[in-house]
Each structure stands twice: as C-alpha cells, then as structure tokens.
Point group: C2
Chain length 348, copies 2
C-alpha cells in the first residue's frame, strides 16, 4: 500500500473576533502551521478538496464578529480557518456523490486543501466548459442569489421599473442583466464613475449613477424614475433605502438581499420612511439563497445556456494567491473591487 | 309640488392645515353656517344622507396636513367639512343602488346631512339586526382592515405566535380575536393597565402588556414569546418595530397597518433593525383596505354571523354630538379612547 502523502496546508485564520468598524487585513493571518493527509479518513463520508477559487462575500463580515444569539450563519472561530464559498477539485472521496477528479463548488475553507465532512452545501459542477471560477459567482452563490431574489421575491413583469443598489457588485450586475432579459427598465447605483461606466456600457443598464456624487439621493431617483420604482433590489440599506421608499410606486416590491452600508457600523442607521410601506402598499421581503437550493440545478442550466449564447456579461476581479486573500476580503467593504471579487488559490 | 325643506346643517370644519405635532381641538370648529336642501339635485346620481355615526380613525391625522405630493387619501380642505367613514340613513336618492330609508356606511361628511355624489365608497348595510354603529368599526373599515390584514397579508397558520400592537384599538382588538379564532397564541400591547386588562379579560388575548411600563421592549417580547413571533400586526411603528424585529422567527410576517406613534412627529423615528428581514427571511408588507373592497360582502357575512353566534367581543367608545367630535378625534392620538372611538351625530 502506497504511503499517503501529507502536504503543508497554507490557510487564512481569523485572529480574533472584531467589533464595530471595517475589518482590517491584520485581523487575519496567513499561516502554514500544519499538514494535511491527502486521503479522507477511513469509514467517513467525506470529500477532500484541493481549493482553486474562493469567493469574497459581504455576508462574511457578520461572521467575523461574535453573536450572543445564533445568526443565520455561524460565527467564525478565532484561531481557525475562515470558511466560505469556493470552487475545488476532488482529491479523494468516500462520498458516493463525489469522485476523484470531480469539480465542485460550495462551502469550503480558505486554505489549500479542505476536508469536507458536511456536504449539504457542496455541489458537483455540471458545466466544465465555462470558466470554473464563475462558480464562485455567476454560477454560484451570487448568481443564484440574484436569480432567486429577482425572480422569486420581486415577481417582475415586463416593462417594470427596476432599481438596483451596489449594482456593479457580484449580485447587482446580474440582477440588472436578469431584469433587462425580462424587458424591464433598469437603473443601478454604484460608488465610483468607473463602476457607473461599467453598468451603462458593459452590463447594459439603462441608466446608472454614482451615489457619492448625489447630494440628494431622492432627487437622483426622481430624475431617473419620473414614474417611480416598481422593484428595488436592496443591497445597501440606510439612507438609500429611505430615498427609495419615497420614490416607490403603488404595489412595489423590495427584495432585501443585503445592507452592506450598515455592516461595519456599531449601530445601524435609522430608516425613517417606512410608513410608505402602507401608503403605497409595498411588500419588502428579506431572503437567503439557502432556502432555494432545491432550485439550483434549474438555475445552473439556464445560466450555463445564457453564457454559451452570449446573453450575459460577467466581470471578475481576481486576487492571486492565499497571501492576498485578507486584502481581497477587506477591500470589498471599501468598494475597491470592480465586479465579483475572488481569490485564486491555485489555477486548475 | 311640495316645497323642499331646507335645514340648518351643523358641521365640523378644519380651520387650517396643521404641521407637526398633535392635532388640537382648536384646529377644528363646529359651525352652522349654511342650510341643506333635503333633496338630491335633479339629474344627479347622488345620495342625500342623514348621518348617524362617524368614525374617528388614526389615518385622518395625515389628512389634516398639507402634502406636496398626492397621498393615498386626499388632504382635507381648510374651511371645508371634514370627511371620514360613517353610518347614515338615506333621506333622498337618485342612485339606483340606494333608496330612501336604506342604511349605508362609507365615506361621508362630519355634519348632520351629507350629499354624496361619489358613491364608490358607499355601501348598503345588509344586516340591520346588529347595532348600526358597528358599521363604523367592526363591520366597517376597522373590522375589514383587521380581517384582510390578518387573513390576506399575515397568512396565519393554526398554532402560530401572533403579536398585535395598539391592541385595544379598533383594529387591534379584532386582529387578536381573529387570531384566537384561528387557534393562534396572541399577545397584545397597549398604553394603560385598563387596556391591558381589557385585552386579557374581555378580548381573550393570551397575554398583554403595558408598553409604557416596559423599560426594555425587546425583553418584554422575549418574556412573552420565548419561541419568537411568527406574525406581527404593526399599528405603531418606531421603537416597538425595532424590538419586534429582534424577536421575529424565521419566515415571519409583518403586516403594516399603521404607525400611529409616528404620525405627530416632525420626522419619523429611525428603525434600525431591518437587517433581520434578511437574516430571518421576513416578509413585511403594507396594505390598505381600499384594495380589498371586492371582498367586503364575504367579510360582512362572516362577521355578522360571528356577532350572532357570540364569537366576537367589541367595545365602543362613543362621544355624543357633533360638538364633541373634535375632542373625540384629538383624543385618539393621546390614547384616551378605550375601544372603537365614534361620534353619535343622531340616534337612529
């Protein structure tokens, strides 16, 4: 019997829980303290992955702080490897659904090799003729979030007026494109002129604006939506939500995907205009992609076809190497990324 | 041809638009400046009503202020009679749906006689064997609001945990009873110990609390809902909503009926905990009864039967005479009323 190889396993570790404020690179460290056997344990139903791409996502901010009550995702464990969505290749497996050589995406570790013992959030990649890194975004959690959020929560109709905040981000850029494919009018907001250009000239948004240059957000929305907003895909929270509420149309819908402007504040900002929910009979609904995984295969098939037909545009912003992973994650909250932020651990 | 009688027509007039703050009695005046012919004009399709009961409702506060943009209900006209929901008897009619002697409820004036030319919001009373004043509340807008808000917006299931704020008010007391009839656990909040007693001992709420005596609203809700809240029927807004959001269960629903705690503020208070909409996948939906009038007959039949079967308890708080109407309306915002506040213009 051949000796099982053991390899050094570089990883990104959270040093300690952080409190309010932006996360810093120094809150994490990249270490190579132990080795990994490239075999799953005897008698297990586990999968050993070589990680290729890791996804940087806003929801990870919440996991870096300690919660007194269980949140919808567990807190990270200080001193342990950070976990998140990623793409990997199966190096060994004792699980019947995954075999050596398969490409998979799902919940993995920010490290070179991960032993996955809980496989509910691991999915075999069925389309290997598209860039595999797309499974960290377009074909992974961000894309699926955009898809279920827009189609299931917003219940869009052709010709409706759609507004997307954080529109150049991983989710927003796709919501805008899904809305255009439905025949909607779509406006996006973003935090730099470069991003605004991208929205208008690459992603096909009808209009876009730089929220940092608008002293009056409500006036900006009124200018771009003289008839009002039917659908708001909410990614930011705070003052933008207040401005949107003023500009919503009767029977409008707000899909609450995230509130990234609030994640680093000690106390979230107050939202003052909620009475418009009554006056305009607005439905505002939060959602998490975790509730929709039974629809993932259907989604994967549709999007893979869109990609092959050239119907969808997707921009990635890649950081090379685990060493650069902390900076990549931290940059997300400063809005440094243009397009989907991901870390390349190893090329295929 | 008999001469048409003309009668003096006492009425309540809004003197001028008010800005922020509680309305005062002196913002209105009771005048008898003109007379009314007790005949509808020739060639019209109008109804002349003798008003019997007038409903005092929180939404009327909004109509007392000037809005730059059209609101969901038109502003009152300074110098003119206040309008609102009420019960009346048809004195003359040239409308095929209404004949002399019919009792009706709907939008009318705060005056002795009203000529109704727009009859979309006028409904013939089909059950005259219940107290007619009930059509200002239980069988009128408040009851119908409670019914559609609870059954259509909250989508309740047997055994769910329901919280109602402003629970002793016209709408709240009924939501609680509809929830009990569905087999739910129901807790209500109110602003005095008397109201709390009423909720527990008269309306059959499982629990109730005086929010003015709770320094920590979230802790109060945690005490009464150790498992969390499935359904929140929102009548008050502000800090109560923030406390509820913390205590909601996954996939909870919030029907936003009103936000009475905010109506007299210059700027509404901020709500800080909206991210729970995402973490707990909460649907929060505003509604107005105006969208549901096609279901009114079905509602009227069900409630009339409930009343006859003794399945529902209803408390009215009557002010006698138009002279006392301004005080009755103003008292609503100070929480003076116990049960449904209405003004008796004339006994049947």
């Amino acid at each position: 019997m051949a000796e099982v190889r053991a390899k050094a396993n570089k990883k990104v570790v959270l040093k300690d829980f952080i409190t309010a404020g932006f996360p810093k690179e120094s809150d994490m460290e990249v270490v190579t303290t132990d080795t990994v056997r490239l075999k799953v344990p005897e008698g297990s139903k586990a999968v050993l992955l070589k990680n290729l791409y890791l996804s940087c996502d806003p929801y990870m901010r919440s996991r870096m702080s300690k919660h007194d009550e269980p949140s919808y995702v567990p807190d990270f464990v200080p001193g342990s490897v950070i976990t998140g969505f990623g793409v990997g290749k199966v190096v060994d497996s004792s699980h019947p659904d995954f075999k050596v050589g398969d490409f998979v995406w799902g919940m993995t570790g920010w490290e070179e090799y991960s032993l996955i013992t809980e496989t509910e959030m691991l999915f075999k990649i069925r389309y290997t003729d598209v860039p595999l890194s797309y499974y960290t975004g377009l074909l992974g959690m961000a894309g699926f979030t955009a898809y279920v959020g827009f189609h299931e929560i917003c219940a869009p109709k052709k010709g409706e007026y759609v507004f997307v905040s954080a529109a150049s981000g991983a989710v927003g850029q796709l919501v805008g494109q899904f809305a255009k494919l439905m025949g909607c009018y779509v406006v996006g907001s973003a935090g730099s002129d470069d991003k605004v250009n991208l929205l208008k000239n690459k992603f096909g948004f009808d209009e876009a604006f730089n929220y940092k240059k608008e002293p009056d957000l409500s006036a900006a929305l009124k200018r771009l939506f003289p008839e009002g907003i039917d659908i708001y895909f909410e990614n930011v929270g705070g003052p933008m939500l207040d401005a949107v509420l003023i500009n919503m149309r009767t029977h409008g819908r707000i899909a609450v995907c995230g509130m990234i402007s609030q994640y680093n504040l000690e106390k979230p900002e107050g939202v003052h205009n909620l009475f418009y929910l009554v006056a305009k009979r607005i439905r505002m609904e939060g959602f998490l992609v975790f509730d929709f995984f039974h629809k993932y295969h259907q989604f994967e098939e549709i999007i893979a076809q869109y990609i092959k037909d050239g119907k969808i545009t997707y921009v990635e912003d890649k950081a090379e190497g685990l060493e650069n992973a902390p900076a990549a994650l931290v940059g997300l909250f400063a809005g440094h990324n243009v397009g989907k932020k991901l870390v390349v651990v190893s090329h295929e």
